[in-house]
Structures are given as C-alpha cells and as structure tokens.
Homo-oligomer: 200 residues x 2
C-alpha cells in the first residue's frame, strides 16, 4: 500500500508539479481528485485538511503538507537525491530564487492568464500576460547560459517552473520569442519518468 | 568593513524582510538605496545585478542573491541558528508553507492593495483586499493554536509574513477581525533586535 496520498485537481498546474516530481522520484501514491470548479476544496471538511482551501495537499502517513512549493521541498529532502535541493546555503538559495519566480511571475502571470481564459476567473488578462512575459524573459536570460535553472543539474526549481510555462499557450502567451525556454521544456520532457500534464 | 551589501528600497516590505532579519542576526551591512519610483531598478546596469529588475538584492562578497525569499533562506543557512530554517524535511516544509503564503495571499493580496493605494499601481483593489483577507484568515487559524507560524520557535516564516501584515492598514485591510494575528505582530516586535519599518 502506498503511504503517500495526493489531493489533486487534474487541470491544476500546481498539482502537476507534484505529480511530475512524484513520478520522477519513482514514488507510488494514492490520488484523491477534488473538483475545484465545483467548490470541493472550499468545504469545511476539506478546510480541516488545508485551511487555505487549495490543492495540492500531500499526506505522508500521519503528516499533512499543503502548498506545491512546500511539497516539492519536502519530497526532495525526504526522498530525493541532493541535486533536487542542495543543502549548502548558496545552492539552496539558487533553487529558492527560481521557486520565487514560479510563485510570482509564473503563477500570477502565466497561470492567472490561463485561469482567466479557461476557467473564466476575474483576472486582468493583459496585466497577467505582461507579468508572464516578464518571467519568461528572466528564464530566457538564465537558460541561454545553462541547461537548468538553479545549477548544472536539474532541481526542483525546474519542476516548479515547468508546468505553467508548458501551459503558457492556454493563457495566450506565445513561447516563440523564448528559444532557450523552449529548448529547456524539451530537456525537462526528456527526463526519465517525465509524465504529460493530461495523463500524468 | 561589512562584507554584506543590500540593494534596498526603504518603502518596500520585501526589502524590510531582509533588513529585519539582518538586524536580528546581528549582521553589519552596507545599504545602497534604489528608487523604484524613479525606475532605478529597471536600468540595464541594475538588471545586470538582478535580471528581474527588483529589490532586494544581497551581495555577500562575490555572491549575488536576488529575491527576498531566497535571501532569507541564504542568510538563515549561512549565518543563522537552525530554528530559523530547520534542516529536517518536515521542519523545512512547514517553513516553506508559510513562505508560500507570504509570496501569494500576502504579496498579491496585502502588498498589492497597498501598492494600488500608495503607489497608484493598476491593481484591482477589491480583489487584492479579498486575497489579503483570505491570507489573514489562514494566519489567524494557525496563530490561535501556536505562538509562531511554522514551529514552536520563531523562524523565517514569521519574518517573511510579518512586514505586509504589519503594513495591512496602508492597503485598507483592517486587522481588528484577526486578534491572534495582532498578538503575533506584538511578539515579533518584542524580539531582540527588531527594527521598525520606517527606520530599520
């Protein structure tokens, strides 16, 4: 029996970050789908699991961890090799820089542009697209110099940034102006045990 | 001579996170003020330091670290005792959960409401205030149960969440409905080497 359980919404890029990393770490887990569009994350019952009323939430035996960034950090430390999240101060800080970009320009830019268009959320599409492009420009500069975001090897920085970049077209932010970003998407997709968004 | 240098904007809550933590760690540093309102962070020269065109940026000898969250993690690991950022997987994940809240509900809620009102930024004030209140409700639930956000001791989770909560009134989000949050603000302000926003 899997000791790991994931509360998941299939169309959430934040949930995909966790599904992708669980797959790459070779970890079995049970999946409980929560329909965000039906408000299933906002019930009193679900809020006892996560007071923020969001997915993903990971349960590891009796431990409950909410938030995709926190879950990636937990899984890397608990089950991963050290490339995923280095333990030295500078190495860890380099990963954190890109986790911050994933939580800011990518989430409030690319993901919200997508949410405005495909879920009808009341976000300012143009402002979101502009924030998203600002994030992509920063990624492009970095990826023109190196294969991976935070270091010479893949890390959870790449896992955290990948989903909403890969889904940028759904927010009508074209990736053609960012060739180094496009090449990096290909490198992520060539990693062992990568799984696609729709079925992963 | 201080080996640490901080690119800073005095009215930025994100910069205040770093100023506060540097003070609490007892670290000397040189300060270079950048006027965001005059676009000084968006020059080519500054973007060579931080491609995102933002402050804070910390320079430690020849290392450059941008992003407030990454800087807090770096300082905790490099100069701080382990309470600031535990090294065990669960302890670290608990800190990350609240760093995520600071980067999401607090930054895109409380900080953007403030930026709309005091800097005239084109954000949807009502939506920002609503996101900010959602973040405060989650903090309130947690702080009704414990003195500090991530653990029994203070951590960088508290340092990251404190500034924009303390500045919530500037975004016209009253704190009266959140008594446990108000009590926690008082606990942060009673910590050794706490410094106020305006002069810290």
């Amino acid at each position: 029996m899997a000791s790991l359980k994931l509360y998941n919404y299939p169309r959430s890029g934040n949930c995909y970050k966790v599904r992708l990393f669980l797959s790459m770490l070779g970890l079995d887990y049970g999946r409980i789908d929560i329909d965000l569009l039906k408000g299933e994350s906002l019930t009193d019952e679900f809020k006892r699991i996560n007071p923020r009323g969001q997915v993903p939430v990971l349960v590891d035996r009796d431990l409950v961890i909410w938030d995709s960034m926190a879950i990636l950090v937990y899984l890397a430390r608990r089950y991963g090799a050290s490339n995923w999240l280095p333990t030295d101060p500078l190495g860890e800080a380099r990963v954190m820089q890109w986790l911050a970009v994933s939580e800011n320009e990518l989430l409030y830019g690319l993901a919200r542009a997508r949410a405005a268009l495909i879920f009808g959320k009341p976000f300012d599409l143009e402002l979101c697209q502009q924030d998203g492009r600002a994030g992509l420009s920063v990624l492009e500069l970095r990826l023109a110099e190196g294969d991976w975001l935070a270091a010479a090897e893949v890390s959870i920085a790449d896992i955290a940034c990948y989903p909403y970049v890969a889904l940028a077209a759904e927010g009508e932010v074209p990736l053609q102006p960012y060739p180094a970003v496009c090449a990096w998407l290909g490198r992520v997709e060539a990693l062992p045990d990568w799984v696609p968004f729709a079925t992963g």
